[in-house]
């Protein structure tokens, strides 16, 4: 994440980064406080004034068989399974089913991944 921000800084010719927008998919089940702490620890000095803004995107799944869309509830899975999905969100195909037709053939439309939403800086 930090190295990607640095790449952007260089490629866009920015002198200073003011704000870093981070998107976090709910399916990743990331502990926000731990993540914030890790980012603070890892960033180089010239990013220390940059503000991190986090946006959590809710998980949305769409069944390929019947078209039903739903957001799974966090409490419908036990901790071990949530952890497996946290590491590899696609493992959700082993544990989640469409609540309407029971199929495991679904698309993850929203809620996976951690990504750089935007970088705001000064030239």
């Amino acid at each position: 994440m930090i190295s990607t921000v640095i790449k952007v800084l260089k490629s866009e010719g920015l002198e200073k980064i003011l704000e870093i927008g981070v998107g976090i998919g709910e399916l990743q089940d990331i502990d926000l406080e731990t993540f914030k702490f890790a980012l603070m620890q890892l960033r180089p000095d010239y990013l220390k004034d940059a503000e991190f803004k986090f946006k959590i995107v809710k998980t949305r799944l769409r069944c390929r068989v019947c078209g039903h869309e739903w957001s799974p509830r966090r409490d419908e899975l036990d901790e071990g399974v949530r952890e497996a999905i946290h590491f590899i969100p696609e493992i959700s195909h082993a544990y989640l089913k469409c609540p309407r037709c029971g199929s495991i053939d679904f698309d993850i439309i929203d809620g996976r991944g951690v990504w750089l939403e935007y970088v705001r800086g000064k030239r």
Binding site: T4, V8, I88, H93
Partner: protein, 252 residues
């Protein structure tokens, strides 16, 4: 911002494998030719010769190496990523640590995402060899390994059948066109004397690493590494490992 820049996981993957000297993708045309057995035996053989070896089972929908090697109750350790446990001297990673025995059908983009996630979080450390057990066929895994690990080398497994070799020819063409190194070809489950594979491979400029006879004692040795190591199949892989090391040395 390009999507490559936005996907932070890709920059992490290079970091994770930077101290791996050789990445060997054990691949095939058709399934059922013995890739997982070759990958497992090769990993064990190289580890016994004192090399630092990793085995990465990326046949996500039909994993087998965890059965061949009997990984038992082992688990990866979570420490700034996940550290593969040591199984018979091999650093081992498989999706089964997360999917257990549940069917995990994955469409193309889901397969790629799962592979990228697993590669982004797995800490392989310093390895001489990372053996990758590929799923059968020429599909997402082949394309993903080529783009994610640019220096990967392929080891092709086939049976003596012209049916199996037909798809192998396509794999060889694809890899050659993309300038991906092919270490050589292994002919598994031979039931009679025949030079068909050897001659055809050599005609395509591919090194024939060796042939292994069909071993009816192999099935009962699965899950028992001691017994597995005493099979004719395993002895065949030991000879092939010798050829493989020579092939790698000659290109270094």
């Amino acid at each position: 911002m390009g999507s490559e820049l936005k996907d932070v996981r890709l920059s992490v993957i290079d970091e994770r494998i930077k101290s791996v000297k050789n990445v060997i993708a054990v691949s095939s045309g058709k399934g059922g030719v013995g890739k997982s057995l070759v990958a497992s035996a090769l990993s064990l053989t190289l580890a016994r010769r004192g090399y630092r070896v990793g085995l990465f089972d990326i046949d996500f929908t039909s994993p087998s190496t965890h059965i061949i090697l009997d990984v038992g109750e082992s688990r990866p350790i979570e420490d700034r990523g996940i550290v593969p446990p040591k199984i018979h001297g091999i650093s081992y990673m498989s999706i089964t640590y997360y999917s257990e025995d549940k069917p995990t059908p994955l469409r193309g983009v889901d397969f790629s995402n799962a592979l990228i996630e697993l590669m982004a979080i797995t800490r392989w450390g310093d390895l001489d060899f990372l053996v990758v057990d590929m799923p059968p066929g020429i599909s997402d895994a082949t394309l993903d390994i080529i783009r994610l690990i640019k220096r990967s080398k392929f080891l092709i497994v086939t049976t003596p059948s012209k049916l199996a070799f037909e798809t192998v020819k396509k794999l060889i063409k694809l890899l050659s066109d993309l300038r991906v190194e092919i270490i050589g070809i292994v002919e598994n489950m031979k039931i009679r004397k025949s030079d068909f594979i050897k001659l055809n491979a050599e005609e395509l400029g591919i090194r024939y690493l060796g042939g292994i006879n069909f071993d009816e004692n192999l099935e009962d040795a699965l899950g028992d590494v001691g017994r597995f190591s005493k099979t004719q199949f395993f002895r065949g892989i030991e000879e092939i490992a010798e050829e493989l090391l020579k092939a790698l040395a000659s290109r270094a």
